[in-house]
């Protein structure tokens, strides 16, 4: 996926914008994480959830109100 291929741009740019330092090992781990997660994140972002009425302050100990 295109987004995953751009890890070498996304990660250094993101780190620089936040002022987070990273060495080569950090970058290697982050690139691996990006390859693993980014395609799925893009899929998640593309899900149409506009019809889902938000559950306000969900009580996770109970079933959601129907």
């Amino acid at each position: 996926m295109e987004g995953a291929d751009k890890a070498e741009e996304f990660i250094p740019a993101g780190l620089a914008s936040l002022g987070i330092e990273a060495d080569e090992v950090d970058l290697a781990v982050m690139n691996a994480a990006h390859r693993m997660f980014w395609p799925a994140i893009r899929e998640l972002l593309s899900l149409d959830t506009s019809e889902i009425e938000p559950e306000r302050q969900p009580d996770l100990s109970k079933a959601p109100p129907q």
Binding site: I20, V29, I41, S61, Q66
Partner: protein, 458 residues
């Protein structure tokens, strides 16, 4: 046989009857930790004087005089948790955590702190500040994580019960790999106070790891602060989701779990129903995003730049990567949570429990935690989380129950999940499953727990 080899409930009963001296039981536990622990690195710290003080002050509770271990995720009055890491990004101090109070008030003796996967961020237990914990069934294999030490300690019968924590499967994975029963309670039912994320987490719970369901019921009752009464799981409607989590599993795991589901059905006169639950992959990612986001509270770029060089490279890189995840994905994850909670509420009107393998393959090697599945080779973390995360995302309870041994003598486990608040039903079902297979798997002992002749225990 040492009293330490008795189930948790029988140790408690023997102490209550006066048949076992709890001071001797504590000494036996400490001695056994000294002998057996070097092979598995399950217990990272003991504190005999503190344990003896706990015992001396123990009230007449349901666990009076019984030694237990607690995961390095909970503070004790004399020790802050390290979370299996050289450095925790959240401030920690010694204190009375909820699980500590629950154990103390039940009369239990905390005999040690148990190892865990670094920062709770792994299903294998092969990475820790203290060095990896090892699986008593095969010390070259992963014990599971992140509650690696609690599981290894109970499997090796250092103690009969341990308190773990489960944010994405961290009680159930090690229970599965080590052949134990592990309960992930309904969110909010078990003691959480004092956890460094207690005020922000919507996924993590404390939970018991024991040899069988009856012991989990006892320790769970203590952690819940209410009795988890026993009942019958008669007529249980068992839903099997025909999806990746039940289909993309190692053949012998699949076979053992299918046999277990059928045995459970036959034992209780229940029925098996094929059910569908769409978007499980999205649910898994949603849980990962939410728990990762919640763990970043108070973390700043400056703080990350000062991180201890002793934090593992993997953890360091992942934490920094988390900082780059888009907020929109977390918002979307919350939507998916709502969606899955509503779908499960509908589904639990049709079935009482969902069943699928806790983990898709047996414990992988410590040095290379990869698993072979029909779809190919995966990291154990990737493969494991997809069967576990739904319970944390939605808040429902789940239990991992041992249901077999693989051809290379490693435990296989089935996971059962139920609707919110039906933790007791899961324990009932787990006990029914134990009856169905003649308690064969809950009474199987790993080589390490069989290693010592009785004379050596004296």
């Amino acid at each position: 046989m040492s009293a330490l080899d008795l189930p948790l409930r029988e140790q408690a009963a023997a102490v209550a009857r006066g048949d076992v001296d709890p001071a001797e039981l504590l000494d036996e536990a400490l001695a056994r930790i000294e002998r057996r622990n070097p092979a598995i690195n399950a217990v990272v710290e003991t504190f005999p004087e503190r344990s003896r003080e706990m015992l001396a002050a123990a009230p007449d509770g349901p666990l009076r005089g019984v030694p237990l271990v607690i995961k390095d995720e909970w503070p004790l009055p004399w020790r802050a948790q390290r979370f299996g890491a050289a450095e925790l990004l959240a401030p920690t101090t010694p204190g009375e955590s909820g699980p500590y109070r629950a154990l103390r008030n039940a009369g239990a003796t905390i005999v040690g702190v148990a190892n865990m996967h670094e920062l709770g961020a792994g299903s294998t237990g092969n990475v820790s500040y203290y060095g990896p914990a090892r699986n008593p069934w095969n010390t070259e294999r992963c014990p599971g994580g992140s509650s690696s030490g609690p599981a290894a300690a109970v499997a090796a019968r250092l103690v009969a019960g341990a308190v773990g924590a489960d944010g994405l499967g961290s009680v159930r994975f090690p229970a599965a790999y080590c052949g134990l029963t592990g309960l992930k309670p309904t969110f909010g039912r078990s003691a959480m106070a004092g956890h460094h994320m207690a005020d922000v987490t919507t996924l993590i719970v404390s939970g018991p790891l024991c040899a069988d369901a009856a012991d989990c019921r006892l320790l769970g009752s203590v952690l819940f602060g209410e009795e988890l009464s026993a009942g019958e799981a008669a007529g249980l409607r068992i839903g099997v989701v025909r999806d990746t989590v039940s289909e993309d599993v190692a053949p012998e795991v699949r076979e053992a779990c299918e046999a277990a589901v059928e045995a459970l059905r036959a034992e209780i006169g229940g029925e098996i129903l094929d059910v569908s639950l769409a978007d499980l992959e999205a649910a898994t990612l949603a849980a990962i995003l939410l728990v990762n986001g919640e763990s970043l509270g108070g973390v700043t770029p400056e703080r990350l730049n000062r991180m201890s060089p002793e934090v593992s490279p993997i953890a360091r890189g992942f934490i920094k990567y988390r900082m780059l995840l888009p907020a929109a994905a977390t918002v979307q994850a919350s939507r998916v949570r709502t969606l899955m909670r509503r779908r499960l509420a509908v589904l639990f009107a049709e079935v009482d429990a969902l069943a699928w393998p806790t983990v898709p393959a047996v414990a992988p090697p410590l040095t290379e935690p990869l698993v072979e599945l029909p779809s190919g080779t995966h990291t154990a973390d990737q493969a494991n989380v997809r069967g576990a995360a739904l319970a944390n995302l939605t808040g429902i309870p789940s239990i991992s129950v041992p249901v077999g041994l693989s051809s290379d003598e490693l435990p296989i486990a089935l996971q059962l999940s139920a609707a919110w608040g039906r933790d007791e039903l899961l324990l009932d079902a787990a006990e029914a499953l134990e009856r169905a297979n003649g308690r064969r798997w809950v009474e199987s002992l790993p080589p390490l727990a069989q290693a010592e002749p009785e004379a050596a225990e004296a």
